[in-house]
Symmetry: C2
């Protein structure tokens, strides 16, 4: 198979690139050059093509999936549907409970969005950490690759890096589930990370299906105290080197970084440093700018993610109100995603300055056009609840400032403020 | 009466200053100098003293109150109680429906927090815009001043400023309710703003009770397109001049500014400019960094408010999910306030760097101590829902990264990651 990178490097503008260029309002030739250089990846599934990276709008991923402690497949299908209908760009199925292969096929059947998995999870869930062999990991990887998954998150944490984090004065240690599994496997077997040891074989599997490699952020910080310490800096360096190898092999690649908890002062600089040092699309989980927003982490995460995308992050992994507390309900998936779609939009306002949709909604708002406003709102469904009959809203009733200004302050002395504006 | 400013200027450290200094961990003498210079105000009610301004933690105000279109006094009392118990620093009663004086007395009876009002609202609600006289405005002002209100928001928009906004290419015009009422009054009577024309008399009323004057932000922008235009710049200049006159008269004063909707790129610079030009405490409504988050404006507002307080705003007025749609329910008051308490904390992390409470919670989190985490969370009630029995959370169940690292990656090769950290 010729991958998107290889096609772009050969000067071919693929259908996928054309579709992304059209939806983002970009020149296909320029976009193709970005793909060739690895600054943009194209995630594909069937007819759906999604561009992530430099110059494109910020994308949002919604994590769903069963856990050993909470396994309701119907709920996960509902979460997938909610995520797609509210506007998620990708879904990650992180299932570790029940029939994992079946769960994945049901999610694939329920939505058209590109799907990401962390293949390690299934291997560990089905085999157990103690009995896991390298072949279990690779066998599972090969099987999932046949299913039409768009992207794999893999934790390529090295033994050297694990030594580093053990010696660091972290409060939270390693909070990445996939990373901790690889660490346990390496300790139990006394071996190097098999994904690293057999990296070329790994790339070969990804290349065969043009699956995007997302380099997991094992060293992400579990609290703001731990952010940007030596292990994180080391991981960034190692992952950038791995990303270059993947790119040279024609495999599309995304870096995960700056995820978890990061002091708000540090987020913009940390992100721009990452982008400067790599150029590959940057996928960020959160980040949470505070540790004390438990129960409302989607809101704190929205602040961190807006800062991150404003500084150059290309792709955000949402956080739900259930973060640090449990598996989210379908309603919590909706809440978390709504918050992160706002973050992505604010990030784009910072990155690109554009505010066409904001201005269009404001014009409808000035005209007290409730339906027009709702149609342009990010969360159309919630916005629709307001005033379906076009009455003044109950906040001010007859003392609506817009109406007072129209009634008393237009006319001979000055034309109607609202009408005049457009 | 000797006001806080006058006492401070005379070198007296008042009980109120001592209380604020103790709760904020500040030196009373230094704090008193800030009060003398107008950089900090002390809002008082009974034994409660609240400091707002330079070097103090960011404060959050919750707006409640009936409207002509939605008047359920029981709900408003409930909102006041919710706001106080969740951690609001002040409440503003913006009632315009039903028995407004009775509503205010019930709110005063239900909570101990400093209460703010916009006296114009009651005068207009009881007299009607068409029949309103200057004496109605001042009579109402004098009556409210006797009731133990801590702060008045007054819109001192000048005729010149109104001419300016009429000529500006705004989409939304004037969206401040209090400001639009003064505008209508001025147009109907063909007069200057009576609060301006009789400013010394106004200051005299405030001085008599040491009520904090909050200079309303009539020109706040109703959409990001309108932000920081000529009318806003003019209003800032006029309000800073009025604040200086108030301060010279011994009246404590707060500026409202940068409120409404502001493009996220502009928020930090706009705030620091305001602070540089005035030095008085800055009260910001929102700001919303986007117009399209209708239904989730508390979340978008949290991003704007975190940026604003991080850049120097001292006092935030919350936004609820009902913003642009109607009067909030008690549950929506809770949601809005929770979001803005997060914003204030993130703002303080940016302003001051401090993260003691974050670190304390992280240490409890690393120890999988659910109760300890919940006790330190901003929204204690929501955080308490998680895992009361101390089981691993349902997100990962038995595959909790913290547990995997403890079980497999501690021991001879490296001591327990969590234990070792403290």
């Amino acid at each position: 198979m010729i991958t998107e990178i290889e096609a772009a490097q050969a000067g071919t503008i693929t259908d996928a690139v054309r579709r992304v260029a059209a939806s983002e309002g970009r020149d296909p030739g320029e976009l193709s050059r970005s793909v060739a250089e690895g600054r943009v990846v194209i995630m594909k599934r069937g007819d759906v093509s999604l561009g992530i990276g430099d110059g494109l709008s910020t994308k949002v991923n919604a994590n769903i999936g069963t856990s050993p402690a909470c396994c309701n497949p119907e709920d996960e299908v509902e979460k997938a549907r909610i995520a797609e209908s509210l506007g998620a760009h990708t879904i990650s199925d992180l299932s570790m409970g029940g029939d994992i292969t079946l769960m994945r096929s049901r999610i694939l059947a329920a939505t058209a969005l590109p799907l990401t998995t962390v293949p390690t999870y299934q291997a560990v869930a089905e085999t157990g950490l103690e009995h896991l062999s390298d072949e279990d990991l690779f066998g599972n990887l090969r099987r999932q690759a046949e299913e039409g998954i768009s992207s794999f998150v893999l934790h390529l944490v090295s033994g050297k890096l694990l030594d580093g984090v053990r010696r660091s004065p972290r409060i939270m240690g390693v909070v990445s589930k996939g990373g901790s599994m690889m660490a346990a496997h390496m300790v139990l077997r006394g071996c190097e990370n098999p994904y690293l040891a057999r990296f070329d074989e790994l790339l070969d599997i990804l290349h065969r299906h043009d699956i995007v490699l997302s380099l997991g952020n094992t060293m992400r910080s579990g609290c703001i105290h731990d952010a940007r310490d030596r292990p994180q800096v080391m991981e960034m360096r190692e992952n950038v080197a791995l990303a270059r190898r993947a790119h040279e092999a024609g495999v599309q690649v995304i870096l995960e970084g700056v995820g978890g908890h990061v002091h708000p002062r540090r987020i913009p600089g940390y992100i721009s440093d990452y982008k400067k040092k790599s150029g590959f699309p940057l996928f960020v989980a959160g980040p949470l700018p505070t540790d004390i927003a438990m129960g409302n982490d989607h809101i704190a995460g929205c602040v961190g993610a807006a800062l991150a995308s404003g500084a150059g992050a290309d792709y955000l992994c949402y956080i739900t109100p259930a973060e640090h507390m449990g598996l989210p309900t379908p309603a919590q998936v909706r809440e978390g995603l709504a918050a992160f779609l706002i973050a992505a939009h604010i990030g784009d306002l910072i990155k690109y300055g554009r505010d066409d949709r904001d201005e269009a909604l404001a014009i409808r708002r000035a005209a007290l056009d409730w339906k027009g406003q709702a149609a342009l709102a990010l969360d159309h469904e919630k916005a629709c609840i307001a005033n379906p009959d076009g009455d003044p809203c109950t906040m001010c009733g007859s003392f609506c400032a817009l109406r007072i200004m129209q009634e008393f302050c237009s006319g001979p002395d000055g034309r109607d403020t609202v009408e005049r504006s457009r």
